[in-house]
Amino acid sequence: MARVNLLACAGILAAVLLNLLAGRHPFSVPELLAALAGETVPGVSFMLWEDRLPQAAVGILAGAAFGASGAIFQRMLRNPLASPDVIGVGYGASAAAVAGMLLFGAQGLGLSLIACAGALAVALLIYSIAEAGKNTGPRLILAGIAVAAMLQSVIQYLLTRTDVRTAGDALRWLTGSLSASTWERASLLAAALAILFPLLVPAAAKLRILELGDDTAAGLGLKVRSTRLGLILLGVGLCAVATAVTGPLAFVAFLAGPLALRLCKGRSHLGSAALTGALLVTTATFLAANILPDIQLPVGVVTGALGAPFLIWVLVRTNKEGT
C-alpha cells in the first residue's frame, strides 16, 4: 500500500511536469527552472505562477478531496455505486451553485459556500429518507439517484430561464474545469482541506468497524447512527468544497475508490483513494489540454469520458451478481 501511495505521488508529479513541459505551449526546462527559482522570465513566469501552478494545485487538492469523499461513501455503503456524484450529493452542490450564480450572481467564496450548503442539504435529505427503516445502504443509493434526477431537471430549468451569456458560464462550471483556478481559490480549498483531511484518520478507523455490518459494529461499541452521520458529513464536506472550486469533476469520486482498491490489490485505504483522485485529475488535465489539436477541453469532459464506461461496467457486473 505504501508502495502504491508512493507510485501515485510520482505519477502526480509526472503528470504535472508533463503538462508543463510537453503540453500545449510547453516551457523549456531551463525556462521552467529559472521561473521556478523566482526569476522573471518573460512569457513564462506569469503563465507558470498565475495559471499552470494554481491550476495544478487546485487539481491535486480537488482530486484528493473527491477521491476521499467517494471512498468514504462507497465503503460505508459497501457499494461502488454509492459515490457522491452518483447519489446526488454532487448535484446538490451544482444546483445550489447554478442557482446562486444565475439568480444572485454569486462568485468566489460565496459560490463555494452556496455549493457546500446545497450538497449538505441534499445529503441530509437523502439520509433522512433512507434512515427511516431497514436496509439503509441500498435505500440511500436509490433515494440519491432519485434526488439526482430531480436536481438535474432543476438545473436544466434554471439554465433555460437565463440569458445565454451567463448560462454559458454556468454550463462551463457545470462540466467542471480547472481553467479558472487562482491562488486564492487554491488556498481557500487548502484551508478547508486542512481541517477535513485529518478527520480521515478517525473516519478510517470507524469505517473499518462499520464495514463489518451495523450489528457487528454496534456490538463492538460503535455508535452506528452517529458514526454514519459523521461520515456522511465528512464525505459531503470534502465533495462540496472541491465542487465549489472546480465544479463537479464528473466521476472522479466514483472512480478513485475502486481504482485505488484495484491498485492496492483489494486492500484500500482512504489515503490511497485520495491520492488516486489527485492522480486522476492531474492526468485528465494533461489529456484535456492536449488530446485534441486545437481545442482545450474542460477537465470534467475527460473524467466523464473515463468514468462513464466504468459505471456501465459496474452496473453490468452488479446485475450479474444479482445484488
Binding site: R208, L212, D215, T216, G219, L220, G221, K223, L261
Partner: protein, 653 residues
Amino acid sequence: MALLEAQDLTLAYDAVSIVDELSLALPAGEVTIIVGANGCGKSTLLRGLARLLKPAGGKVLLDGEDIHSRPAREVAKMLGLLPQTPTAPDGITVRELIGRGRYPHQGWFKRWTSEDEAAVERAMTLTSTTGLAERPVDELSGGQRQRVWIAMALAQETELLLLDEPTTYLDVAHQLEVLDVISELNRTRGTTVVIVLHDLNLAARYADHLIALKEGKIVAAGHPAAVVTEAMVKNVFGMPCRVIPDPVAGTPLVLPIGRHRVLRAETVLAANGIHRTQNPDADLDAGPAPVQGPQAGTQEVQARATAADPGSNTPAGEGIERAEEISDMLAFATKVVRIEPIGENFRRLTLAGKDLEHFGAGDAPLDLRIKLMFTPDMDPAGGGDQLPAAFESLRPGALLSRADATGWYRRWLALPAESRGVMRTYTVRALREAGHRDNCGSEPEIDIDFVLHLRTDGGKLTGGPATVWAAQARLGDPILLLGPNAALCGADYGGIEFRPGTAKRILLAGDETAAPAICSILESLPAGITGHALIEVPDTGDIQGSSTRSGVSVQWLPRGSHPHGELLAAAVRDIVAIPAAGAVLTGAEPEDVDIDEQILWETSTASTQPFYAWLAGEASVIKDMRRYLVRDAGMDRKQVAFMGYWRRGKSET
C-alpha cells in the same frame, strides 16, 4: 462476573411489539440457548439484550445498570455480539478481521498494543484458526468462516457473549464444530453465553439453560431435561413429536412427527388384514393337517392297543400307528431336574425326560408355547405321582389311530372336571438336546420360567394351580407336557407366533408372563434387526439379563406401585408415534373382543412390512395397546401380533 437481565422488556419495530414485557436473568457462567419458532422474537430479544434495539418498554440491565445509559465502548468491553450475518470486507485476512474485535479496547489515539496482539492469538488458539491467520476470509469454508467470526468476538474478551444463529447455513459437522468451540469457551473462560438457535436438539444438547419463546413471551425456561417435553414442543413449535433420551448425550431428543413417513402401515383396511379372534389352541383340536380316510369319530379304537407291533408301519387308514408318526402334537413325560429362582417373582424349572427327544419345531425356539397338564393323579399331596393317563396314547412310541390323534382335546374335555385336571400354557424358555453341556443329566431338557403370582391366605399359598405347583415343585416331581412333534413340526409350527416376515425393525412388548417368550425371541434374533423390547415386570428384582445379537434395545420396566400395564402402554406410545392429526386416515376401530369371554389372539403370518410388532400379556392391557396401535397409530394388522396371555380374575380354561 457481568450479569445481564431484562426487566419487563418490550421490544418493537414500528410500534409492532415483538417481545412483550419479558423478564429474565441470564445465569452467569452458563450457556443459555433461546429457541422458538420463526418469528417468535428470539433474534429480536437477542438484539435487545445486546442493546442494538432500544426498548419500547422496560429495560435491560448490565450489572444492575441500564445498558443504554452506559457508554457504548464500555459495554462492548463486557458484552460481545456475533450477529446472524456479519459481513467481511473484501480481501480482509483472518488475522486482520479478528483484530477488529479489539476495537473497544483501543482509543482514538491508542495504537495496537502487545495486549491486543495477545488477545488475538488467544482467540485464534481457542477457535483453531491460527493456521488460517494469513488467509483471506472470502476463501474459507462456511465453518471456518464462522469460527473466524467467533474468534473476532472472542478477541473482544468479554465476560458475556451473545450469538445469533451461529450455525445457520452450516452443514451438520460444522454446526457441531461451532457449538463445541462455544462450549469450550464457556468451560475454559467461564464466559456467559447466550445463543439463539433454531435446532432444538442441538439446543437441548448444548444448553445449560434453555429458554423457549413463543410470540415474544417465555413459555418455558430451565434445564433442557426439564423443559424439553412433548407438550412444550407442541406448544412452541406447533409440532407433534416424541421426546426420547438422546442416546449420545443423554439430553432430550426431539423426534418430529410429520405428516408422512411415520411408522405405520398404509392403513390398509382391516378387512384385508390377516387377523383372527379365536382360541389359539383351536388348532390343537383340529389335529394333524393332512387327515385322510374316513373321519371315524365314533369308531373308537383302543388308544393303547397293546397288541400292536411297534415296529410295523400300518399305512394310513383305520390302522394304528406310532404317535410320533401321525400326530403333530405329542405328550411328553418329564421330571423336574433343576429349580432356580431367577427373579423376585420368577422361578425357573428345568424339565427332563427321554420323551423330549421327540420335542421340537425347527431350530429356533422363539416363543414356542406348550401346555402343562396338572391333574389330581400327580399331586404328591394326594398320594399320586402318576402322569395323567388320558395322554398316554400321545406319548412318543405309543400307538394310536389317526382318529385319536385328532380327537384328544375333545376327549379330554369330556372327562369329569374333577379328574381331568387343568391345562396351562407356558413358553419354552430354552430347549437343550441330550448331551448339551449345560444339561444336568443325559436326557434332553426344557427350561420353563414360571411367574409366581401368589398370595398366602392363612398360611396357605393361593394362586392358580400351575403357579402353586411351580412354587412347591421339588426335584423329581413329574409333569406332563404337550408340545410339538419334532418329526412333523417345522419352523412354521402354529405354536410359534413371532413371525416378523421381512421386517427389519421390531417391537416386542409384554408383561412378566411374556418375559420368557421375549427373552427367547431376543436370543434367536439375527444381527441386523433393530427395534425395541419392552418388558414390564413386578419388581426391579425381576430384571433379567437378556442377550441378543440383534440391534434391538431392551428395556425392563419394573412396575412398582403402578397399575399393571401402565408403564408398558406408555413406553409403547413413546416408541410408536401417532401420526399428526389428519395426516393419515386413522385406522378403523378394531372390532371389539370381549376378553372375559374370549381369548384375545390376533396374529399374522405374512408380513412384508418393514416393521413388526409382537405384544403379549394380560388381556386388557393388550387390548388397550391394540386399540392404540390399530386405531390411533394406524398400524396394519398384518404387521402385528396381539396376544392375551392371561386375563385378570379369570383362570385359564
